[in-house]
């Protein structure tokens, strides 16, 4: 029963991410600035990891866990990179100089190289459940740190120029942060409340992003 709910939520999350991807690519399309490409890349990766999760949870009921561990690993890495892509977009959005553009290009190239290398490394050796569990906790803590940075960045941006319109996104990132924190708790004690908190908070996070995106693009259209 829980697995079915989980698969459904993963699919809904993936759909929401792919809708968001269409909005997230617009800053890059309209400004031509490659430093905004991290946002669509991040949401694209995030959506892809939810698709993989749905697939793995579905397969879990059909076959043994062991062959799926590598896919779990890939999903873990891809999700962390998704948050990394989003965070570097925020970091570089405030420094539009020639030097920062060069650093951005180097950072992006390094990140892509690191992502490919990480995926290659996990696809070669045999993965044990024990090593996966350790890696999972390390990746979750890394995600927490990255999301915390994004929260601080967006809050600072809101405080600099307070506007009711700009408060929703920092709040959404805090919801994502709590969701990741709950995921860590769920891994430690396996409580059902933590399990549902992860999924519900993630849906709330994505819903806020969708609301903000639709408001920015479609409310403006109505007013025009």
């Amino acid at each position: 029963m829980y697995e079915e709910i989980r698969i459904a939520i993963e699919v809904v999350s993936a759909i929401m991410c792919f809708i968001l991807l269409r909005f997230m690519i617009k800053p890059y399309e309209i400004t031509g600035e490659s430093r905004y490409i991290g946002l669509p890349a991040g949401f694209g990766f995030l959506g892809a990891t939810y698709v993989v999760s749905a697939f793995v949870y579905y397969m879990e009921s059909q076959m043994a866990l062991f062959p799926l561990l590598k896919i779990f690993y890939i999903q873990l890495i891809a999700r962390t990179f998704a948050f990394l892509f989003i965070s570097i977009t925020y970091y570089f959005s405030k420094k539009p100089t020639e030097k920062s553009r060069l650093i951005w290009k180097i950072t992006l190239t390094l990140l892509i190289a690191l992502l490919i290398t990480s995926l290659l490394i996990v696809s070669i050796p045999d993965v044990t459940l024990y090593s996966y569990r350790i890696a999972r906790n390390i990746f979750r803590v890394t995600n927490l740190i990255i999301i915390l940075y994004i929260c601080i960045h967006t809050f600072r941006s809101h405080i600099k120029k307070p506007d009711p319109k700009t408060i929703l996104i920092p709040l959404a990132y805090i919801i994502l942060l709590v969701s990741q924190y709950s995921a860590l708790f769920y891994q430690l004690d396996g409580s059902l409340s933590a399990f549902f908190a992860v999924l519900i908070l993630r849906l709330v996070f994505l819903s806020v992003f969708l609301l903000v995106s639709f408001e920015a693009f479609y409310r403006g259209k109505k007013e025009a």
Binding site: F23, K26, P27, I30, T31, G32, E33, Y36, L39, T89, Y90, S93, K94, P96, H153, T154, S157, H158, D163, K165, T166, L168, I169, P170, V212, S213, E215, A216, F217, G220, K221, A224
Partner: protein, 91 residues
């Protein structure tokens, strides 16, 4: 001395189209347009040719905004609003 932020091409396009929009499709003298946009005349001519090729204006010698040009201004403003809401900075 206060440093003036460097504008990228898209920002200049938007500024140019917004000036044309504020003129309400009346005939615009290119030298006035140059002063308002604050760019060298030869650069202004290049921008006007590019905008005409993109279908955002009609006739670069006496530029007038097209429907596509109006849509561009609207879309540009929406994206700026979206970026502001997202907590992204854009200069």
């Amino acid at each position: 001395m206060k440093k003036i932020a460097r504008r990228d091409k898209m920002k200049i396009y938007n500024d140019l189209l917004s000036i044309l929009q504020s003129e309400n499709n009346n005939e615009v003298v290119l030298t006035q347009l140059q002063l308002k946009l604050n760019v060298p005349f030869d650069r202004l001519k290049q921008y006007l040719i590019q905008l005409r090729e993109l279908g955002l204006i009609e006739d670069e010698t006496s530029p007038k905004l097209t429907k596509k040009g109006k849509q561009y201004i609207h879309e540009y403003q929406n994206v700026l609003d979206f970026m502001k809401r997202m907590g992204l900075e854009y200069r």
